[in-house]
Symmetry: C2
Subunit: 334 residues, 2 copies
Amino acid sequence: MSTIADVAARAGVSKATASRALTGRGYVSAGTRDRVVAAAADLAYVAHSSATSLATGRTQTVGVIMPPVDRWFFSELLAGIQESLFALDYELALYGVREGTETRARLFHTVLPGRRFDGIIAVGIQPSAQELERLHRWERPLVSVGPYSEGSSAVSIDDVGAARIATEHLIELGHTDIAFVGGASDADELSYGDAQRVEGYLEALAAAGLEAIARIADAPPTMPGGYAAAVELLGDRRGRPTAIVGVCDEAAIGAMIAARRLGIAVPTELSIVGVDDHQHAEMFALTTIKQSPREQGHEAVRLLQQRIDRPDAPQERTVTASALVVRSSTALRR
Amino acid sequence: MSTIADVAARAGVSKATASRALTGRGYVSAGTRDRVVAAAADLAYVAHSSATSLATGRTQTVGVIMPPVDRWFFSELLAGIQESLFALDYELALYGVREGTETRARLFHTVLPGRRFDGIIAVGIQPSAQELERLHRWERPLVSVGPYSEGSSAVSIDDVGAARIATEHLIELGHTDIAFVGGASDADELSYGDAQRVEGYLEALAAAGLEAIARIADAPPTMPGGYAAAVELLGDRRGRPTAIVGVCDEAAIGAMIAARRLGIAVPTELSIVGVDDHQHAEMFALTTIKQSPREQGHEAVRLLQQRIDRPDAPQERTVTASALVVRSSTALRR
DNA sequence: ACCGATGATGGGAGCGCTCCCTCACTCTCG
DNA sequence: CGAGAGTGAGGGAGCGCTCCCATCATCGGT
């Protein structure tokens, strides 16, 4: 493994000049630059990242903290972040957040002070006041995806709005018995975004004077979760709702499959709407609210990059709009 | 941000002693150690990772190269890797592999020589001879998950075996018209493991003297992929197979949904078997071959750790067994 | 002819850590 | 009782890079 000293020697210049030629910072004559670049190529020289980091204080690495990627939304988001970071020549260090505070504690006590990252993208995490304070002391930019908190840029989905639109769509179709699949009686169990969606559902009902009929079935935001909850919900022939809002498409699809098994026709007997526009939504002809997690990933990186370049620039907050995509899982109430 | 010099000063010892006390390498008296540790705690001292790396040559970071995590298998595998790395105090730097060689080229030309990683876990990647040579020159361990190549440890699924078992199961049930959903006429389009599965399917047929009936439907290894392929396969009432092997559970489930829509009863009229034991397999009562991607992730990290500790230890190769999980998507041929 | 930009280069300090080497001291054992 | 091993601590080089500063040449403007 050759060092910059080797390159400098081979090009017949000093280390300083070689560094300037290679990084593009400072005065170097064209001829010298070419010689240095050629020498570097000959030696297959690549700067030692730790040495560069130590000298510059920048690691070219971004930490990404996110929930397990087994949900489509997160895996898409991660893909978006990955694409953008790659394009900007940043490494991506992935951190899981298990609710177990161990990961989180370690992150704040060891990883951040270790100055491994130039910035952080935190997905679906609401930092505590104490954590925020530490982040502030960390003096490096944070962009959060989802929840928004003072002192950091954020790209958010309007989760409340998405669920509201979904619910309103059903109300407009004449439904007055609309259940929500994918809540949790213990609110702590819900991710931030999911909690917001419950909120949106309730808001829409309230706006239509239907708050009394609110029915929230607890379920994890997964297909089996939605399936199980729907089986229970639809099992009773008379108390059965005529429409269902899923906390996400996975849950909605689970509910749809449950309905089919129970011989309940969708959409004639039961309307179902989801949130996300999951890759499977089309196959199931699911009416849903389109989010674009991949683009949100891009946006998050853009914001972060901006703040890395100009740390004193004002915080920015992007809220991406939600759009209703009508397919054929919803219909007028009979 | 305090440095080790600050800690040393506060504890009234030299930098060297402080370092020894904190890293646990070399002689330090218990009393001194305690004083240093206390001083470090007071100052909230955490070693600067770049400085440590530069001095030790180790980054405590492992690079993970894998396909997009939108398939359950990969997201589980990643989760397993993440868990184990976290437990061992390693950072995880994530790399996508788009077939676009750009990522790959950059990895080999810039990232590896930049000495950012102590080791690499490569998932589903068959390095070219030239790449292998570079890896060798890199002199750091590589563990591959999936394909096995000379000179690196590997944890592999017996993909051939898995698909063979799945197919044999159908043959034992009396089926003689068994289609495979999720191939690709252009073999390059298939991931390594998927290609192996096609292999296993063909092997089983051949062993039963059924090679003549092999029918491989091209489809991406996804639910919509399996759905579309199955719709085509099952559309023709007479030429219809009596059993289907899915390249993975997602594809198998897609096929199952297609069958339902077409009014074909599973398993009475059509048997379906998948590979993976996906989280949704149970909900669909899918007979499948159980893999444990999460455990494979653990195993990959274990192998890597071993090789980081003792670089000259012999290469190890783990092949995890596959087990048939019979649910109710398969039945005797009528 | 002199001066101050401007361009091009080299010397070398310094980033924060580890670890080799040296030194001092205390035991242990022949 | 002295040699040698074992233990504890400090000094300081060195990891590979960047970047500040000093130096020197060139050149146009007064």
